[in-house]
């Protein structure tokens, strides 16, 4: 019995960790640095830089959107004009020139009707990123929507999913094929004027994924979107909407990369999740946007609004994120726990190396009775990286029996980095139980020496210790993503010691 357990555990671990034990794999991982940094040479149809009502209309027209969608965008745009960028985050950001950005870029040519029509360069791009789209090599058990700059280039397994009544397509497609659903849910979790970047997104959003899981259906495979920024001087403004009807469940994954460029590119996404009665949505992100170089030149500005609403009783939303990329990350995936007995979770690993800055965390808003939330945040800072956890736990008056547990751990590597924790707690119901634990630690010399005295080299020792630190969060990720996440941390920490 016991030995079988070792074996199982060890085999599981082999899958999780195979790369760390194979010499070549480690070498490859360590030498690859940011290997998603290439540019695909494909002609694109882009709007000139600049933003005004005409731009908004032009985007809408390029996408052949119905009138109501155009109006929705314009309303958001007009609201955005009245707003100012937020300054409360612990981030040092130069002013962003919104007129210098191109708000739409798409590979030239007619829209692809099926994956067979997608040009070879694009298929190859995704192959290189480890996301095969073509029929023979499709990822088993994972349906992928591939978004390239402002448009979705294709979605796999659509037929198989449709057989179950599941809709998984690009947002642009959904606006046309399922307008009633889009109208019913879009902007109901993150309103157009929610915040500066959400308003901007609502005005100019390009593409993203739309997921609808009908009543009682458990989605039979992982759904995933792979976002790729390719063109220079463009922003990516994706919009994702996931709806799980009564008793439905789905696990959704998101990955992102961009070429290395010495300009800062803007990524301002909005993600909305709606879980009705007894529904469950698991949303996992491995974010690896280009982080900039070691001197802080270039990199993606990642300003993202992600929010899920547990609208029905007993519904559940789980956010898991591994944030290793971007020059700046501003992101607080949140849960509005409206339904009684609903539950929200947030599991996060955020790593900042070199000059990266992250201000990330979550908001758990308890409205319904007996609502529960759990927050596990692991921040890792190396080099001159600055890592901030910012989290709000709010218990409304009617949230009888609400409970929250927050665990917030920071790990520092080296002497020039920083970790900061800002937990905000607002409790309006005296019966609620809110717990907060926080630790800050360093990779100790003792730990390093212990590993090295057993034969493990410095870089491997660091990634092993960091991996151990993140274990609780990695456990929440689907297997393939856990492998990817571990590799990413290894690569991102390259040069953090010595």
């Amino acid at each position: 019995m016991a030995t079988e357990r070792i074996q199982m555990e060890s085999e599981l671990r082999d899958r999780l960790r195979a790369p760390a034990t194979g010499n070549e794999a480690v070498e490859a991982a360590l030498s690859r640095r940011y290997d998603a940094g290439f540019v695909t040479d494909i002609e694109s149809d882009s709007l000139p830089p600049g933003l005004d009502e005409g731009t908004v209309r032009a985007i809408s027209a390029r996408k052949h959107e119905p009138e109501w969608m155009t109006e929705w965008r314009l309303k958001a745009y007009r609201h955005w004009l009245t707003m100012t960028p937020p300054h409360w985050a612990k981030l040092r950001i130069g002013p962003i020139d919104f007129q210098a950005i191109s708000y739409y870029s798409a590979p030239k040519g007619p829209k692809y009707k099926s994956l067979d029509e997608v040009p070879r360069e694009l298929i190859e791009t995704y192959d290189k990123l480890g996301v095969p789209l073509h029929e023979r090599a499709k990822l088993a058990g994972v349906a992928v929507d591939a978004v390239f700059d402002s448009v979705s280039v294709g979605t796999t397994f659509q037929k198989e999913l449709a057989a179950k009544g599941i809709v998984f397509c690009s947002m642009s497609e959904a606006v046309k094929s399922h307008p009633e659903l889009v109208k019913k849910y879009l902007g109901t979790v993150v309103p157009q004027g929610d915040n500066y970047f959400a308003a901007l997104n609502s005005a100019v959003f390009s593409d993203g994924s739309f997921v609808f899981i009908p009543k009682g259906v458990r989605c039979p495979m992982e759904l995933s979107t792979y976002f790729r920024i390719n063109a220079g001087h463009t922003g990516q403004f994706e919009r994702t909407l996931i709806i799980a009807e009564e008793g439905a469940s789905v696990s959704y994954l998101e990955g992102c990369t961009a070429p290395m460029r010495d300009e800062n590119q803007l990524h301002a996404a909005v993600v909305e999740l709606v879980a009705l009665d007894d529904a469950s949505i698991k949303y996992s992100t491995v974010q690896n946007w280009y982080p900039g170089d070691e001197n802080g030149v270039g990199g993606i500005y990642n300003f993202v609004t992600k929010r899920g609403e547990c609208r029905g009783p007993r519904s559940r939303i789980v956010w898991t994120q591994v944030e290793t990329g971007s020059a700046i990350t501003w992101k607080y995936p949140s849960c509005v726990l409206r339904g009684d007995d609903s539950a929200g979770e947030f599991h996060s690993v955020a790593l900042t190396h070199h000059c990266q800055q992250a201000d990330t965390g979550t908001k758990m808003i308890h409205i319904g009775r007996n609502t529960k939330s759990k927050i596990v945040s692991k921040g890792i800072s190396a080099g001159r990286g600055q890592n901030t956890y910012r989290g709000l736990v709010k218990i409304e008056k009617g949230a009888e029996g609400a409970r929250n547990h927050t665990q917030c751990d920071s790990l520092l590597i080296g002497k020039r980095c920083g970790a900061h924790t800002f937990p905000y707690i607002e409790v309006k119901n005296p019966g609620a139980i809110v717990e907060h634990e926080a630790t800050t630690s360093k990779i100790s010399e003792d730990q390093m020496f212990y590993c090295r005295s057993r034969g493990i080299g410095e870089e491997d020792a660091v990634s092993m210790i960091v991996d151990g630190f993140c274990k609780q969060v990695f456990r929440e990720l689907p297997m393939e993503f856990a492998v990817e996440a571990k590799k990413l941390l290894e690569v991102s920490l390259e040069g953090a010691v010595g």
Binding site: A2, I6, E9, Q447
Partner: protein, 254 residues
């Protein structure tokens, strides 16, 4: 196997080892005893390559090569193993995984083939049986939440698995109950081999009833002040370290 000659070591600006010499041949077990603060752990750390220990004079030869110029992981691969006086916790890192990573890292450095998970588990089972250890500790994170005794036994398990040429045990008996101490001693005895040497640092002659040493050294004030056979340990037990000091006026004072 190991030849230490006139070793001087500074730690945090203070000279701790002051001309230590010691030679251990393959297959020998050397016990090192000595008062608190004498420099026993310092010796272990220097041999294993810990940073911050500055060698100001002297040489250490291990199997004919200069040990002092190797990085800690290279020393491990060359066959040096230190069982820590205070084993370190590594939260979240599975013990089995850690051991396999360590073993394979060493094998890689030696140009040997790595063990796959089946081969590794076979080895783990063998060693567990020899040491009469339960496998439950293997499923936990490295030393995390282990009791003092469990940590020490885990060190011996690592020793058994890594099969070094030179094993330095730094007070592995401290904090063990009598049964656990016997188990540890059995484990060490099972590993005695004509090709393997041990430096056993201990405060208690009792351990040496179980692990019978070839040579006993007394380390005081940074050097070996007395060496003898196992009866020396009995004398120390009976008379204390003052007895040694009385017999040998410290050379440094002369």
């Amino acid at each position: 196997m190991l030849k230490i000659d006139n070793l001087h070591v500074r730690v945090a600006g203070r000279e701790i080892l002051k001309g230590l010499s010691l030679e251990a041949k393959a297959g020998e077990v050397h016990a090192i005893m000595g008062p608190n603060g004498a420099g026993k752990s310092t010796l272990g750390n220097v041999l294993a390559g810990r940073e911050g220990y500055e060698v100001t004079a002297g040489t250490v030869e291990f199997e004919g090569q200069n040990l002092l110029e190797l990085a800690p992981e290279e020393r491990a691969a060359a066959g040096v193993f230190l069982a820590f006086q205070y084993p370190v916790e590594i939260p979240g890192v599975n013990n089995t995984y850690f051991l396999r990573a360590a073993l394979n890292a060493q094998r890689r450095q030696r140009g040997e083939a790595e063990l796959d998970s089946m081969q590794f588990l076979k080895k783990v089972r063998e060693k567990l049986a020899v040491l009469h250890l339960k496998d439950e500790l293997l499923h936990r994170a490295v030393n995390e939440g282990f009791s003092g005794g469990e940590k020490k036994r885990n060190e011996i398990f690592q020793l058994a698995l890594l099969e070094p040429k030179l094993a330095i045990l730094d007070e592995t008996d401290s904090g063990l109950d009598i049964d656990a101490m016997k188990l540890v001693a059995d484990g060490v005895n099972a590993m005695r081999d004509p090709a393997r040497s041990f430096l056993v640092i201990t405060h208690y002659q009792r351990l040496l009833d179980y692990i019978v040493p070839d040579v006993v050294h007394v380390l005081a004030e940074g050097r070996i002040v007395e060496s003898g056979d196992r009866t020396l340990a009995h004398e120390l037990e009976a008379h204390g370290y003052g007895w040694v000091a009385g017999r040998h006026a410290p050379a440094g004072a002369a």
